[in-house]
């Protein structure tokens, strides 16, 4: 059993690697776009402009209240019907995860910026800094420490949630696992492998966030 199990994993390695590549691909792209979008969201919210706050809050509440799975269906099945745009499942997953991640990271960024004393902003303005310089040189560098640990946590959640992409037909690592199980009935082995896979990818991230949090709290 042990040797045949390993043999099965070895034989399935090319398939599993493709699946892993897709899972990591979706996650990496979603993390990238979420970070950019979240940064933008957080900065825009911190400006305190009503005409910006209203649409951004609506966006946030929609992504908070509606499950990611429903968004996936909505984009995958809805976009072709309502807008005649059909995205490949892979990019549809990247888009939905990015929008969801950006709302989560955005709130983290907003909170981190808000926690910086108001005097920092005024001191920056008082020496004539423009808004871009104020954020780039004074506010965001200070916010970075506070926002990195929670942003890493959002990243691990993005990684795990990417497995929902199976349901719109992306052949990611979860799907590959299911296919192998359907062929071989080795469910314990394959799910065990998935367990280890996600753990190996996510654990270092959450460990890093904990270490950073501890180190920066003392600094």
């Amino acid at each position: 059993m042990a040797s045949s199990g390993l043999e099965l994993l070895w034989a399935s390695a090319p398939q599993l690697l493709t699946g892993a590549g897709r899972t990591l691909g979706i996650s990496a792209l979603a993390i990238l776009f979420s970070s950019i979008g979240g940064l933008l969201y957080g900065v825009l919210r911190s400006l305190g402009k009503r005409w910006l706050d209203v649409p951004l809050r609506i966006y946030l509440e929609l992504f908070r209240a509606i499950p990611v799975l429903v968004w996936l269906y909505l984009f995958f099945f809805g976009l072709p019907i309502f807008f005649g745009v059909s995205l490949p499942a892979f990019w549809c997953a990247v888009l939905v995860l990015s929008l969801w991640g950006a709302s989560e990271i955005g709130e983290v960024v907003r909170g981190a910026l808000r926690s910086i004393p108001r005097g920092q902003r005024e001191a920056g303005l008082a020496i004539g800094l423009g808004l871009g310089q104020l954020y780039g040189r004074v506010l965001l560098p200070q916010a970075l420490k506070r926002l990195t640990p929670p942003v890493i946590n959002v990243c691990t959640r993005l990684l795990k949630t990417s497995s929902l992409a199976v349901l719109i037909g992306v052949v990611d690592i979860t799907k590959v696992g299911q296919q192998i199980i359907e062929r071989t009935y080795e469910s314990v082995l394959i799910y065990g492998f998935l367990f280890v896979f996600f753990f190996i990818v996510c654990y270092p991230l959450s460990a890093a966030s904990r270490v950073l949090e501890r180190r920066w709290n003392h600094a």
Partner: protein
């Protein structure tokens, strides 16, 4: 002397409350004006209006011969009006030198070597040349406040605004900061100073401005103001200070 700063019928409201009412103020080049008054009288707001951190609702503000509307290019104005705050507000993620050079390099785009030389000279002038590479958290409150003054000075401003810059300091650090300001006054810097240090006000001021409930209640040269205040409010205000200074010793029981 020409007026560097001129406010005429200047008003400022927060929501419906009037904070500054009919302020008329002329400050000439080289003049040191100290603003006194009870808490909440609008002293700090007045200073903050002078560099656009707060905007007035009506009246005019003329700086160096130029009328500044609410949508003025405040970035340009702020480079000429240095401001020092009660809680210093140094940038904690930068060294002393980086704090001081941020404006000259990023805003004024000055030559790095020339700006650095000026920064080092100013740091030496306030006795902190050796701390150029320290971080703010490694410095005492008095040292941080002196750095904050240097940060404003390094922009070569025409005016300096001081907003209760010793109020957050331990008593033994007040002196080192006040001496720097006194030194600037000697050098002919135009300054508006909000303070609760009455003795300092008397020593440094060319003119005392007494504010009460958003209005300029009285302005005079320091000798006249302290020896013969014209308004009842100013008299009360000064009595409270002399009471603290001349507090009688408690009788032993």
């Amino acid at each position: 002397m020409s007026a560097l700063i001129e406010l005429a019928s200047f008003n400022k409201k927060f929501a419906d409350t009037s904070v500054l009412t009919d302020i008329d103020l002329r400050v000439s080049e080289g003049e040191v004006v100290v603003i006194l008054g009870p808490s909440g009288c609008g002293k700090s707001t007045l200073l903050r209006c002078l560099n656009g951190l707060e905007l007035g609702h009506s009246g005019t503000f003329t700086f160096d011969g130029q009328l500044l509307p609410a949508n003025a290019d405040w970035r340009r104005v702020r480079q000429q009006i240095g401001m020092v705050f009660q809680s210093y507000h140094l940038f904690p993620h930068m060294t002393v030198l980086q704090n001081v050079l941020l404006g000259p390099l990023q805003v004024q785009k000055r030559d790095a070597r020339e700006a650095r030389q000026q920064a080092e000279a100013l740091l030496a002038r306030v006795g902190l040349a050796e701390r150029a590479n320290a971080y703010p958290r490694e410095l005492s409150g008095g040292q941080q406040q002196r750095i904050a003054i240097v940060r404003a000075l390094c922009m070569n401003p025409k005016v300096m605004l001081f907003d209760e810059v010793t109020a957050a300091l331990d008593p033994e650090m007040v002196k080192e900061v006040l001496e720097v300001i006194l030194d600037l006054a000697q050098g002919g810097m135009t300054m508006l100073i909000v303070t609760h240090e009455v003795a300092f006000a008397r020593a440094v001021a060319d003119r005392i401005l007494f504010m009460d409930r958003g209005r300029i209640a009285e302005q005079n040269d320091p000798e006249t103001f302290f020896s013969a205040p014209q308004t009842a409010r100013a008299q009360q205000f000064l009595e409270r200070f002399s009471y603290v200074e001349n507090m009688p010793k408690r009788k032993a029981s």
